[in-house]
Every structure is written in C-alpha cells, then in structure tokens.
Symmetry: none
Subunit: 456 residues, 2 copies
C-alpha cells in the first residue's frame, strides 16, 4: 500500500510541469460568473472540465443546467465499502476590475518567480486542478482507494443561488460520507491549515432616492435632503463608537467564544502586525474587546462593498444627485440567520431613514455560518497527510469567509466538510494580480494524495 502511495507521489512529482500547464489552460477561460458578457465563457469552462474528467476515465461525467450557470459532475465509485468523498469546487472567478491595476493580463496566466499570476489561479481553479491531479496521480499508478464524486459549480462568486436546490434534487447521486472542500487557504508558507469554522454572509443593495431628477446645487442647494448625504448618515449609524453593529437585535443570536477556544486562537502565528502587513492599512480597526484573529473568525462584521452616487468622473459638476446606492454585506457567525439579518436591516432603515427620501433594500445573496468537529475522521486523515508532506502539525483555524456549500452539504446530505486549501493570504484573491504560490500548490497535491490513501 505504501508502495502504491509512493508511486502516485512519484507520478505527481514527474508531472508537475503538465499540472501547471493544465491550470494555465483553465485560467485562460474568463469565467466571470457575475458578468452576463461572459455567459459563453462559463459554458466553455464547464465543458473544459468535462473533457478533463473524461480523459481521467471518470464516470457519469455530465453538465447539469441550473437557472444560472451549470454544475459539472463526475465520479469514480469502484472502491466497494471504502468511504465516498464528495470533492467540491467552483469554476467561476471574481471580476477583474480595476483591470488597469493588473501588471499582466488577468486571463493570460504567467509565471513570475515561484508564482503563477492570473484570475482564479488561487481562488479556486488552482484548488480544483490540485484535487483533479491528485486523483489522476493515483489513477495512473493504482486504483482509487476511496470512492470520489466531483461537484464543480459555476456560481460560488455570486453566492451559489442555485446550488442548494440542485443538491436537494440530487441527494442520491451525491450521497457521501464526507466532503472535501479545498476553497480555503493556508495561514503562511509552511503552515498547513485546516479550517473548522466559516462565517456566513448576508449581502444587500441599498438605494436612497431624493429629488425626482438631478438638481443644480446652486438653484436648489438648501431645500432638499441630498440622498448621498442621507445614505452616508445611514451607513455611519450602522456602527457605534466601539465598532459594534447597531442593527436592532444583531448580536442576540451570536455564539460567544469560550475561554479554551480563545486561548487556542491566541496561539496561532497571526498577530495584529501580521494582519496590518497583509492588508497594508495604516492601522487596524474593529470591534472593541477582541483580537484581530478572533474578530475575523468568530465575530460578525458589516462592510460597505460599494458606493455610487452623482458625478464621479474627473472634474466638477454641481449636481444634487437624484439617488445614491450602497452595497453592504454582513459576515455572520453561529447562530445568526441571514433572513433575520435582512429583517434587522429593514427595521434599522425604517427607524433611521428620514421622510425626506424614499429607499429600497434588495437582498442579494446569503448563507449561515458553519462549525465542524476537529476530531472527525476526515480532519484526522488530512492532519496526517499534512504532517507527512510539511513535517509539521497543521493549525486549526476559524475562517472569516463564507462557503454556503458547506452548510448546504451538511443540511442536505448530512455530511461534514473538511475545509482546506493551498492558497496563501497574499494571493490577492478578489483583487488585481491574483497569484498562486506553486511550490505550496505542489505540496498540496501531495497532501491530497496522502489524504485519499489515509481515508481508505
């Protein structure tokens, strides 16, 4: 058995150049799920995956249409009573704006030193290819020690609006003992990381309407309530002076950290200065009474994701805008409910928006937070895999992001997810110049080979 494992690892090491080539092919497809102009590219990306899965000899390879972008499925269920692992991935990527800040073309993947630059290289085309290439390395040298099922969706970056209903409709097909979700990342090079908690998300667009047309600020300045000013008042009031969120009832269902977990989090090699450097901010900021790592993993937050009103190009125009818009989202923790947060936001607006304007709130996407057991079989298998590859224990971390599929898999398929990934904090995911640290990525492929053997 150890022999087979070594052969798979050897195959992986010999084919690193080809693996990288595959990833580059995948990154070249501009599969931006939020942009209707990339509709055809989304289909191209799905079909590219189909071809790869067929070349691997997987079964039931299929593109499932949804009301949005399609889901790609493939499986190998030939390992008898061995556990069945659902491998999750997404083939869609974030938009590339502001594109002028990219040093290389976002969809023209290029190596620079040890890094591969390109949109999706880290989040998460790189992680999908890592899983695929770990499976390939085993299939080319052995039989799979476990049953595997790939589920690769195309709507993660827009909140997976069609995933839960599709999972519900395909529970037999997807039946599994465990899910592997490599959409997380590592704390640092040489610090393999397993995520045991994720924050949820509630995303909204708020629009404030004042006069029924743009006004001349000379002729009318002083008689109407400027909707951009009203929007700023409303946003400003959403935090108090201690950095706490003021939506009515927002903290009522927030589960507090216990002393043991706080002391464990305090041992992570991520202090405040670490985050200051990662972000490049002049100074950190956040809710009083919690460390940076506690705030990211275990405390809810509210962020302005976008602001737009009036005249925003070069020069000056003396306009009182007719409307102002903000995109606002909350990161949620156990046991907050996105639907409740929506109600809390509406109540806040009803209580604070003045009668001098009209307003609308659209709910864009959302999902609850999740928390998994660190003693589970999957976590243990991954822990050993990481020890073998990095020669060190992994760290266990709460993640600040949201992965709706983790709660979907839990609720619909009753399977825990093992959350990991081989991206790094400075990968610029969701930003210009996204990159992947390839030496870490190659180690990740090795770790996944170990992981599958450890589970048999």
């Amino acid at each position: 058995m150890t022999d087979h494992r070594d052969k798979a690892l050897e195959y992986a090491h010999l084919h690193q150049g080809e693996f990288l080539g595959s990833l580059q092919d995948f990154v070249r497809i501009p599969s931006v799920s939020t942009d209707p102009d990339h509709q055809a590219d989304m289909l191209r990306a799905a079909n590219w995956l189909v071809d790869q899965f067929r070349l691997l000899g997987l079964d039931k390879v299929q593109v499932f249409p949804t009301n949005g972008h399609p889901i790609v499925y493939a499986e190998s269920v030939k390992a008898g009573n061995a556990p069945t692992i659902l491998i999750y991935g997404h083939y869609d990527v974030q938009p590339v704006d502001p594109v002028e800040l990219w040093k290389t073309g976002p969809f023209n993947p290029v190596m620079n030193g040890e890094n591969l630059y390109g949109r999706g290289a880290s989040d998460m085309k790189g992680q999908v290819i890592a899983s695929m290439k770990a499976i390939e390395s085993i299939l080319k040298t052995d039989q799979l020690p476990v049953n595997i099922k790939f589920l690769v969706e195309g709507e993660e970056e827009i909140g997976s609006p069609n995933l839960r209903s599709w999972i519900d409709a395909h529970q037999d097909l997807l039946a599994c003992d465990l899910a592997l979700n490599p959409d997380a990342g590592m704390i640092a090079v040489d610090v393999p990381t397993i995520i045991y908690a994720l924050r949820g998300l509630a995303y909204f667009e708020i629009r404030v309407y004042g006069p029924d047309h743009d006004l001349h600020s000379g002729v009318f300045g002083g008689v109407v309530h400027n909707p951009a000013q009203v929007l700023c008042d409303l946003i400003s009031g959403m935090h108090d002076s201690r950095g706490r969120i003021t939506l009515p009832g927002f903290y009522d269902s927030v589960r507090e950290l216990d002393a043991e977990e706080r002391s464990e989090l305090a041992r992570l090699p991520v202090d405040d200065e670490y985050y200051r450097k990662q972000t490049g901010a002049p100074a950190l900021w956040g809710e009083d009474g919690y460390s940076a790592v506690e705030r990211i993993g275990s405390r809810p937050t509210l962020d302005v994701n976008g602001l737009l009103s009036g005249f925003t190009t070069k020069g000056s125009k003396t306009v009182i805008p007719a409307w102002a818009m903000a995109k606002i989202s909350m990161r949620l923790v156990p046991d907050q409910d996105p639907k409740q947060v929506h109600k809390q936001l509406l109540r806040y607006m009803e209580e604070h928006a003045p009668k001098t304007v009209r307003w609308e709130v659209d709910q864009m996407s959302g999902g609850p937070a999740s928390l998994t057991q660190r003693t589970s079989k999957g976590t243990q298998a991954l822990t050993k895999a990481m020890q073998a590859v990095w020669g060190t224990d992994p760290v266990y971390k709460r993640e600040g992001g949201s992965i709706p599929v983790v709660s979907d898999v839990q609720n619909s398929l009753h399977a825990d997810s093992v959350l990991t990934g081989f991206g790094l904090p400075d990968d610029n995911i969701h930003s210009p110049n996204e990159k992947l640290h390839t030496p870490t990525w190659f180690k990740g492929i090795d770790a996944l080979i170990h992981f599958f053997y450890n589970l048999q």
Copy 2:
C-alpha cells in the same frame, strides 16, 4: 428726451415680428459648446453675431479667439461722459439630449401660441437678441444715451474656462461703470425680477485610503477600517441635527439676513410647496430656522455631488475597497472666502479622520458670493424701467447659483453687475422643449430701452 424714448419704444413695437425673426435665425444655429461635433456651428454663431453688430453700425466688432470657443466684442462709445455699460451674453447653448423628448426640432424654432420653442430661445439667445434689439431701437431713432460694450462668450454652458483670463487681458477695452447681465430670469409672468445676490462656490474632491489593495471581506472583515465607511462617517458629521454645517468656523463670516430683507423675501411668490414640486423630493429639508427661499439665496450649503467606492455594477462582490471618493461642494454667501472654507475643510478632516486611514483633499474650483447694492444706480435704473413697462414694482431676489462672470467682472473690472432677464421658470432651460414666452420677451426689450435712457 421723453420724445426720443417714445420713438425708440415705438420702433420696437413696430418691429416685433422682425425681432422674432432674428431670434429664430440665431436659434437655428446649433451652437452646443460642449460637443466637438458642433465646432463649426460655434464659429457660425459667433460670425452671425458679428454680422448683426456690424449692421447696427457698432465699432470694434471683432471675434477674439480663446483656447476654447471665441468671444465676440462690439461697442458704441460716443456718449461722452455718460456711463459705460458692459452688456454680457453667451451664444452657446446646452446639449439637446434626450432629443427624443422634444416635440419639435430643437434647432427648428417654431411658435406655438405665445411661445417660441427651440434650444437657446430662453437661455440665452433670446436675452442677447433682446439687448441687441433694444440698442437697435434707440440707434434707429436717436443717438445712444450711454456708452455700451457687448461681450458675448461661447463657453458659459461649460463653465467659462477661458473668460477670466481674457477679461484680465482686455481690461482697457472692457473698462466700464456697470455691467448688464440678462442671464437670470423672472419668477413668474408679470413679476419682473432683479437678482441682487449670488452664492459663491467651493468645490472639493475627498479621497480616503484604507488597505493598500481591495480586500476579501470574508478574509479580512473585522480587522481594517473600511474606507467607504470612514468616508460616510466624515460626510455624515459635516451636518448637525439642525442641518447646520459643522466645519470649524464655517459660519463665522456669514452675513445674517436683516429683518427687512427677510420680510421682503417672504413676499416672493415661491413658498415651500413651490420648491417641493420643482424638485420632486418627498419632502423638503434644510437648515433650521430659515424658509426655503432664504436657505437658497442667503444661507451657505454643503452638498455631496458624487460618491464612488468599491464594486458598483450589477450583482455582488464581497470586497473591502482600498479607497473611497466623494465630490463635495459648498455654496457660499457673503462674506465667506473660498480659501478659508478650504482651510476649514482641512481642519475638519484633521480633527475627525481616524488614524486607520489616509486622506487627501483636492480643491477643484470656487469663487466668492456676490451681493450688489439695491440702491445702486444700475438697480435703480432697472427698477424704474420695470415699473414703467409692467406697471408694478420688480421683486428683488437672491439667486442660489453662481455666475462666474459676475465675480470676474467685479474682480477684474471693478464693476457691479445688474442681473435680470426675461425668461420664466417653466422655460425648460437645460431640458427638452425649451421655450420663450414672447409677450414677456417684448416687454423685456421695452424695459431695456427704458433702462439705457434711465442711466444717462
């Protein structure tokens, strides 16, 4: 003398049809200053004026090139020691978009009932022709009782970027005792109006910088101060709960309305409901303790003219933006100084911007307010002229906007401007279906004839 005046008025009445024909010819030239496609039309309009001034027998008729559209000049300086009046006008017009909302061609002037429809009919080709035809009526029946100098620019609708430097360079040519600026309007039919105050302007762009790149709001939400949120805090703090502006010292040099002026303003036929209908806002808003008409004319205001940060197109992107921008401008009243206001804004930012962000303030444009004495010779001459034509006293009004040429003439030529005009609030200037109420316009020509005789 009365005899001469009557003859001029008689000439004007006999030639109303021809005057209207001249205006229609002028409106037919699509002199849209902001549109490079109309470059040739701008020259056509300037040359059309030159022809008219030459036909009138004026002197020094000339087209002066500028870095933008040319300025047309003409004069008649034969009245010895009589005062010299600089008559201001502009021959450029607003764009016609959305053109599909016009019921007749914007540059195909047609009469419908008492109104002449066409772009520029009211703003301000009609007012230029009114001044020209008042002069013609006198010249054809008498000698001019005053010296006059016409200055007609082609860049008013784009902010007169080249006017001040041209005035500075031609101070001797333009030397005058008084300026007539008919680019304002009347409050209503049969309510002749004299503008005696204009607000000034101070325009800024504020940029707030947080993290050195856009961040994922899951990975980093909770540790950095969102620059869009900080900008909202700063903007929100610029007004207090009474609608007053909080910049340190902002009201120190604001000249208060006296009781007499307040009671005069209260008599203007523009109540709060008038402004609510004009703006289409759900309700009015403004500084406590002042009526709408007082706030527009005599109180300083601060408006957000534009807001931009992060992700603003369709859909959702979970980004913490690296920066946020606002365009903010203040309408100023006597005796505020735009330079002082700049310092007050900087002090506000220094006192209120947190150390978690960097910020920049750019000064874009500005000018002080202006206020003319209602007892001045020019205002008295126009008051008597309006009494003679309308049989009623004119109303005196403060205007909320800024007319840069008024402060240019004040600062460069040390001459007060008499501000009036014969357009009406429903003339749709800057909108589709611009029109001119011709009976009011003919009265305006009569009033200008009286005005020139009253000044001698």
